[in-house]
Amino acid sequence: MTVAIATLVLFGLTLIFATLLGVAKEKLRVEEDPRIGQITEVLPSANCGGCGFAGCADFAKAVVEQRAPCDGCPVGGSAVAKKVAAILGVEVVQTYPYRPVIHCAARTEDKLGVVPYDGVKTCTEANIVGVTQACTYGCLGYGDCARACPFDALHMVAGKPVVDYDKCTGCGACVKACPRNLIEQIPFKQERMLVVACANKEPAREVKKVCKVGCMGCKACQRIFAELFEVKDNLAYLNYDKYTGDEDFEPVFAKCPAKVLVYFGKPKPEYARQLAEEEAAAAVGS
């Protein structure tokens, strides 16, 4: 008997509250574009903030409101951009994944005028102190970028940051971390991209005093590929809009006196083998 009454009472109360909530749901409904949910579904859900918005859901909202481009997700790349574009019903042009490259290739032994530094071992601090090495443009080597990387894709090797492009998602955390603004996101049109690995704007005489691998601003590259290279403030810049990756850069490599033009990205097989041998030799040497 009690069981029956209890069941009825409970059933009645549940019904009342269910009705109440149902009515409230109708009254307090929030109109939301269904595309926001669909786009959030196809995004990688890493919530890394690489797009400049607070997480994937926020980015989806921004895309629907046309505050962000379809291909704004650096982690998803063109595959996700296509899906987002399909949901929005727009065409997407060929996009390239943006990945970071470092505009300084100086290993510890390449740097000149390095002084012992016992302060806080971060680039931010060392940059404020400012006298830990002679080059005021180059990498400080204390690995703020490696610590900032949420994907474990950046490591300090021989005093310079090395990106693991298999793990890198292009979220841009390292770009923000570098106090000397040496890291730049470039469109990876190929697996390997040519990069001017120097940021020193001093004239050749000064560069030679501070680094063994600094750009002299000699314009040798500009003379060979006038379209691609531009030397400004004693420093070479590569124009990635015109860069295709299919050019033959051998003459430039031969001419460049400081060898500041280096490839970043996933190495070709034969190159990877050579790199592994070099690293093994370096490990034995150290």
């Binding site: 009690t2 209890a6 109360l13 509250f17 307090l28």
Partner: protein, 205 residues
């Protein structure tokens, strides 16, 4: 006389028997959402709202539904074993209501709360308030006193969490020993706050 009793109940539950500092209820949101003052205040408001409504509604259900139906069958307390189930149901419904309301009118607060808003459902302070009302003879006889008790409980929680958030905002700039960083210093702060609130014990006897 009546007003005096109500003020007494209110002060007692806000200061002397503060839910967080004296009865140690609702510690989870107290530690979880006390990083920023505005968010803590919002959480306190939501908890106050849910607690007041839940306290009143559960009182009404116990005395307006369960007791009369039980009396029909000879024993007013025959259905009291349903209390816990109904309390939880009422609280869950009220939280849903608050969630919908916030989403509609305060979307920023809704986003800021995140998972902590649905977690009010399992905030033991609210079930605690309902059960304390249910256990106390004084509140059993008066809906108004129960409402004041529940409301005061919410205000006490809001006060506690806002004070905590204020301290934690300042704590960010202080040199905390490495071993105590994070949860450690937070719990210590809460402990000292609770000690301070012990000073109110015995007031108003």
């Amino acid at each position: 006389m009546e007003i005096g009793a109500l003020v007494g109940i209110f002060l007692s539950v806000v200061l002397v028997n503060n839910f967080v500092f004296a009865q140690f209820l609702g510690i989870c949101p107290f530690l979880g959402v006390s990083r920023k003052v505005d968010m803590a205040f919002g959480m306190g408001c939501a908890v106050t709202f849910v607690m007041t409504i839940s306290g009143v509604v559960t009182w009404l259900i116990v005395h307006g539904v369960l007791a009369p139906i039980g009396r029909q069958f000879g024993n007013p307390e025959a259905l009291y074993f349903l209390k816990y189930v109904i309390f939880i149901m009422v609280i869950a419904s009220m939280v849903q209501l608050v969630e919908m309301y916030l989403r509609k009118f305060f979307p920023a607060l809704y986003v800021a709360f995140g998972v902590f808003l649905p977690l009010i459902t399992t905030n033991c302070a609210i079930l605690g308030a309902c059960l304390l009302i249910d256990m106390n003879d004084v509140y059993q006889r008066s809906l108004l006193k129960s409402a004041v008790f529940a409301f005061g409980g919410g205000i006490g929680f809001m006060m506690a969490i806002t004070i905590m958030a204020g301290i934690r905002e300042h704590l960010r700039f202080s040199d905390v020993p490495k071993a105590l960083q994070g949860a450690g210093i937070t719990l210590l702060t809460a402990c000292i706050l609770a000690l301070a609130f012990m000073g109110f014990a015995g007031i108003g006897k």
